[in-house]
């Protein structure tokens, strides 16, 4: 991207011309149906992978939940889509450490998680009197 021009500060207002190259993609990302989630997670656990985290994305009417695993610094991601209103199965039976992030997703997105060993009932991040779902997109 270097041009012959004098390099200027990156803080200049960016031009809105879209870049020529294709949008960046996450490597090793595999879309899986929700029913396959637990068997696949179990297989990752059997290989000794470390659960990095879960990411929830509001897609409007549905959620995409990404599961990030690390095996010797190689990342492997699973992506499962879940319609709004459905319950997400908890993976805490395989990875106990997921209870925090699953509770966080339940709090901030209002996506219900089924089978949590410690359920904060949407009060992990939010206060007692809060009723909104801060990370949902405004429509």
């Amino acid at each position: 991207m270097t041009t012959g021009e004098q390099p200027t500060s990156a803080l200049r207002p960016a031009t809105i011309v879209p870049p020529a190259q294709a949008p960046a993609r996450i490597e090793n990302l595999e879309r899986i149906p929700l029913a396959d989630l637990l068997p696949r997670v179990r297989a990752m656990a059997a290989q000794g992978a470390r659960l990095v985290t879960l990411t929830c994305v509001d897609m409007g009417g549905a959620f995409e939940v990404l599961y990030h695993f690390d095996l010797d610094l190689q990342l492997q991601h699973f992506s499962a889509q879940i319609p709004a209103g459905d319950k997400l199965p908890s993976i805490t039976s395989e990875y106990l450490c997921a209870f925090l992030v699953e509770n966080e997703i339940a709090d901030l997105f209002g996506l219900q998680v089924e089978g949590l060993p410690v359920d904060y009932h949407n009060r992990l991040m939010l206060t007692e009197d809060s009723s909104d779902r801060p990370l949902l997109r405004e429509r």
Binding site: T8, L11, I26, R50, T55, L73, L96, V118, M125
Partner: protein
Amino acid sequence: MSARTVIPFGPQHPVLPEPVQLRLTLEEERVVEAIPAIGYVHRGIEKAAELNEWVQNVFLVERICGICSFLHALCYCQGIETLLGVEPPPRARYLRVVWGELHRLHSHHLWLGLLADSFGFESLFMQFWRNREMIMDLLEMTAGNRVIVSTCTVGGTRRDIAQEQASEILRTLDKVQNELDKLLPVISNDYTVRSRTVGKGVLPKDKAIRLGAVGPVLRASGVAQDVRMIGYAAYGELGFTPVVEQAGDAHARLLVRMKETYQAIDLIRQALAHMPEGEIITRVRGNPRGRTISRVEQPRGEVVYYLAGNGTRNLERLRVRTPTFANVPALVQMLPGCELADVPVLVLSIDPCISCTER
């Protein structure tokens, strides 16, 4: 079977600089269960990042944490650079290593002092914090600010380190190392330190991986995993092997961090010695499109950013998984079986950063 007592540890507690609560169920003096409660300082930074422009977010993500602010900015900028397809110039990559390791150095000093304070070793605490001031002065000299250095930006860095500043850094690092040499025997052999940390909160290797522990907690359990090994910034060009300890107890975590201070000093020296001349910033145009994962090793462990852009000035989603968030489950599993008096030491042994955890 004795009666059980529930003790709320925190959110306000002398060893906790930040609010987090552990609901401890005790049988006499022994902890049988610990339930964490966070959310006291949740600031909604992930949401704010969707509302701000992506250029402004550099300053926002720096404020996720006051101790590893540069590394948050670095992780964010590397992610945006992937989305935009830009490559920072070589000098900027070395400058990022220098500031990143200065941050690791001062963060570990802060933690080593706090741990000493948690078991009442005040003079050791003072020594570490006195040392830390020298590093804070280096940050202020090179970046203009002690903590939130704001030197990293998308495409490179915003400031350069001049030759005389580099020699000043090297001079100060010699002094810091000289002081650390006096403190290393205290950390590894002192009776007080050993009696409060050896054998406390043992986390076996397989459990550490299964619980998703990261950073020094993982490496103290014998797992040689450090995100710097993937070679971001200039780490791939510098000699670097992760510090690993096998014992998995609080003392092993202490030793890992102590040895990482030496490693950070060594990396800064290497980076300054091999720093190429040239530009420090690449011109950036366009807006981020697509999505990516960015990872950086912070003093507390691996930080993960998920960035999704849609070609506008605002990001579609920014998700931050900070190291303490990953280490809290490990802590919860460490606590059962320990004495109530050891809880402060064990809580500190994961180096909790609550403002990171809650974002």
